[in-house]
């Protein structure tokens, strides 16, 4: 992730330290593994309250893959776990097929200059749970084959279900677009 | 230090810098692929080559049919002979000019273009950039040859893109010929991956920029590989004649000596007189650095090749290696003068790159050698002082030709 961002010209810091996080323009929340252990890790570092405060102050926050799911209210992965509740909605298992693995196109269902230029591009997905929530927070969907949310947004809080850092040229272009626009907002 | 294993047939070991595999019988991948030279139907393969190049011929003669990279040595004559005379194509010769040219090399290259009546493009990179790069790569990687390898492998590709001539015709594929990286039947083509991995020791031009503060983009951009998009737009493709012709450098050079007056020279550090006659350093300083870094040198490549062709026995090969590989340098002063370093600093730089697996320092200026030739099964019957070793290569001239032992950058070469 850091390499992709540096490659397109942004400066990156990786940290769980609030003092460091306070100095940057945009917070990026990646995620690998399972929901309960990820939330536990955030609680242990005192980052749950921190992120909720930052969201209230309109600080841009981007969640990627599991990071996107953490933005929701709660998840049913393994056992019911409360999330950051920054974009209301629940995380539920995918239905047949049980995994979404591979390159899939995103379709914009709302007008949003952050994502419009990437409409119809393919990105790499690798997950088995999905966000379920109000339509107003869903910016893009992908077909599984039924539509599932691939990009969600509430204000300056953004969730990407796919991995832009693993999506080659399309991913780089999207990151560049989102971050440039959010940082100047 | 892990044990290196040796091929039972040739003189190569598992420590070969290109990689080498040994099978259950202890025979190496290079020898196994070499066996194909005596089992494949070369007439059939020639037909395949003919069919392959057919679409690239320009019937109206308005552009060159292909690009042929050449030097004043290295099978260039044979390649041009095959392309122009046997395949009937109209090639554009291209050559990356280096600073270490011998007068014989200049003469051979001039003779090449005149005897075969070909058009030729030269690329000369400015001396300050080349010396800056050479100083950095010598210091860090122990290499004096990066700019030459980079230039020789990229100038033809850049020319293909710029002049929209898609087909590049090379001779033999070094990985295939030395270590059997590919079968002849894989019909391997030129790739950027091979160049970065093996020709450039893992470092392309832009990698040098991030490693060395002293280098600027203006010093290295000329060595950049063309973009994939440009390569695809022109349809650039590099093929190897060695996949379609039974490649035998000794026999080929001798044919070119007879038919086209290719001239050759003896070397101290090897018994082969045909290759690398265009460079004062390849078989001299560069070869000694190879021995320091890898524990073996070019004479082992030559011996292994001749063993595989059945012209030397393994014992004769090993004896020739031991006879030549520690020979002293002849042209070190010229290099030091060119680069602007003194001999002591140069030796210090070189010693820094001696591989501890093969060299042990016993006293200041004194090193014990435990390289490949020393590690071969202690064969008491191999006597390095043998005087009855086969003398199968013929030198008909000298590197200096009719000049001094001085580098020539651009020379008249004719007559």
């Amino acid at each position: 992730m850091a390499h992709s961002l540096r490659d397109i010209g942004f400066r990156v810091r990786v940290s769980a330290d609030m003092e460091v996080l306070n100095e940057v323009d945009i917070l990026l929340l990646p995620g690998v593994g399972a929901y309960p252990s990820a939330m536990r890790a955030l609680h242990e570092r005192g980052l749950v309250h921190y992120l909720q405060d930052q969201a209230r102050e309109q600080r841009p926050i981007i969640g990627i893959c599991l990071g996107m799911q953490l933005l929701a209210s709660a998840s049913h992965e393994l056992h019911y776990t409360v999330g950051l509740d920054l974009i209301p909605g629940e995380v539920v298992p995918l239905t047949e097929p049980k995994w979404h693995i591979g390159w899939n196109t995103i379709e914009c269902v709302q007008d949003d200059p952050l994502f419009g230029p990437s409409d119809g591009q393919a990105f790499y997905f690798n997950h088995s749970f999905m966000y379920q929530g109000p339509a107003e927070y869903q910016v893009c969907v992908s077909r599984h084959p039924t539509p599932i949310p691939s990009v969600i947004r509430r204000g300056n809080i953004i969730g990407l279900q796919f991995h832009p850092e693993k999506s080659q040229a399309a991913g780089k272009a999207l990151l560049k677009n989102i971050i440039s626009r959010l940082a100047h907002a | 230090m892990s044990d290196i294993k040796f091929c039972k047939r040739c003189l190569y070991s598992s420590a070969h810098p290109l990689g080498l595999t040994l099978d259950e019988e202890g025979i190496c991948s290079g020898c196994r692929i070499h066996e194909e030279k005596d089992t494949l139907d070369w007439d059939e393969r020639w037909s395949m080559l003919d069919a392959l190049v057919k679409p690239y011929r320009n019937p109206d003669g308005k552009n060159y049919d292909c690009i042929v990279p050449v030097t004043g040595a290295q099978d260039s004559y044979y390649i041009v002979h095959l392309v122009k005379e046997r395949l009937g194509m109209n090639p554009l010769l291209v050559t990356y000019n280096k600073y270490f040219n011998t007068p014989l090399g200049i003469r051979n290259l001039a003779n090449l273009r005149i005897r075969f009546n070909c058009d030729i493009l030269y690329q000369n990179i400015n001396p300050i950039s080349v010396k800056k790069i050479t100083r950095s790569t010598l210091h860090r990687f122990g290499s004096i040859y990066w700019p030459i390898l980079a230039g020789q492998t990229v100038f033809p590709v850049q020319t293909a893109v710029r002049h929209k001539i898609p087909l590049i015709v090379w001779g033999a594929h070094q990985g295939l010929e030395q270590v059997g990286m590919f079968s002849h039947e894989h019909e391997i083509e030129m790739t950027r991956r091979y160049r970065k991995d093996h020709d450039l020791m893992g470092h392309e031009a832009d990698d040098l920029l991030s490693i060395f503060d002293t280098l600027k983009e203006e010093d290295v951009w000329q060595y950049r590989y063309p973009d994939d998009r440009d390569l695809n737009a022109v349809g650039v493709r590099g093929i190897y004649l060695g996949n379609y012709v039974r490649w035998d450098p000794k026999a080929q050079h001798e044919q070119m000596m007879r038919e086209y007056d290719y001239k050759t020279s003896a070397f101290n550090r090897t018994f082969d007189c045909y290759d690398h006659v265009d460079c004062f350093n390849y078989m001299d300083l560069h070869d000694q650095i190879k021995l320091y870094k890898h524990g073996y040198s070019k004479v082992t490549d030559h011996a292994s090749r001749e063993i595989r062709f059945g012209r030397l026995t393994r014992e004769e090969g090993l004896a020739l290696v031991r006879k030549h590989e520690q020979a002293p340098l002849k042209y070190l002063d010229q290099f030091c003068e060119w680069l602007g370093v003194n001999r002591r600093s140069m030796q210090f730089l070189m010693d820094h790159h001696r591989n501890p697996s093969f060299w042990t320092k016993t006293a200041p200026g004194n090193w014990d050698f435990n390289g490949w030739s020393a590690q071969h099964s202690k064969n008491a019957s191999v006597d390095p002082m043998r005087t009855d070793l086969p003398d199968i290569f013929e030198a008909n001239d000298y590197l200096e030709y009719n000049h001094d032992s001085k580098y020539i950058t651009i020379g008249k070469g004719w007559p």
Binding site: A34, K98, W99, E165, Q168 | T21, V161, Y194, G202, R229
Partner: protein, 261 residues
């Protein structure tokens, strides 16, 4: 629409990237990093690095290799296989830079660990590798450390059926490296339906690839040796497969020479 994938495979033995033929003959290629980086630049849909001499030597995963690959800054999903003996091994491999894992020996040695990996990392991160052969009537499963073949065990099949692993890598080990060699019966007669399969081993031409891509249980096709013979191999295969559900080919452009074509 979800595309099927063309996976580029890099086989590593004794620290070298190699060509592998029928699980017994090897030709050297070069540094694994150079091959992986090249596949990344070409736009392979996933890159699979399989280190084939770890389990045989009782070693754990090659974490140093993963860390070196991590420093390359790859932008393509990376799958790692070779020497994963426990949940900790798998977790550390992911932390070292892999996105998904392949397990082979572990399927013979410790199915509980496979389940543990799936719980910890998610089933989408776990692929079961099955080297298979066709004996004329049914599919047989190779235990490559002992060189013996038998039916796929009920337990392993159940792992796939119950969704502990997300995909199965079907390796036609006998035809590895052989032109046009892949045995399609391994897919047509695979004992389970409805489980996504990745075909690998002797897949060399676009006709074969098209036939496989049209099979419903195939989610991806993988090639190793055959991607090493020419420039832009990934793109050229994709272009020969236009009309198939694959992501389109792309050519990188960082320092363009031609201003118009």
């Amino acid at each position: 629409m979800l595309k099927k994938r063309l996976v580029g495979v890099v086989t590593v033995k004794d620290g070298w990237a190699v060509q592998s033929f029928g699980y017994k003959r090897y030709l050297p290629l070069g540094k694994p990093e150079c091959l992986v980086e090249n596949l990344d630049r070409w736009g392979a849909d996933e890159i699979l690095v399989q280190v084939i001499d770890r389990s045989v030597n009782g070693s754990n995963p090659d974490f140093e290799l993963l860390e070196r690959l991590g420093r390359l800054g790859l932008e393509t999903p990376l799958i790692y296989g070779g020497g994963i003996r426990s949940v900790d091994d798998g977790v550390r491999a992911i932390q070292s830079g892999a996105d998904r894992l392949v397990v082979d020996s572990l399927l013979h040695d410790d199915l509980a660990a496979v389940r543990g990996l799936s719980e910890r990392l998610g089933a989408q991160a776990i692929i079961a590798a099955l080297p298979l052969s066709w004996n004329g009537e049914h599919v047989e499963w190779l235990d490559y450390r002992h060189g013996s073949s038998s039916s796929i065990s009920v337990e392993v099949l159940s792992l796939a059926e119950t969704g502990i692993v997300s995909e199965i890598l079907v390796i036609d080990w006998m035809h590895e490296g052989h032109q046009d060699g892949f045995e399609q019966n391994l897919i047509r007669n695979f004992p389970l339906s409805g489980v996504p399969l990745i075909a690998f081993g002797g897949i060399s031409n676009s006709n074969q690839m098209a036939e496989l891509l049209q099979m419903p249980n195939i989610s991806a096709i993988a090639a190793g040796n055959f991607l090493s013979y020419r420039e832009h191999a990934v793109q050229k295969y994709k272009e020969a497969l236009s009309g198939m559900p694959l992501r389109l080919s792309a050519y990188e452009s960082k320092y363009p020479t031609l201003t118009h074509v």
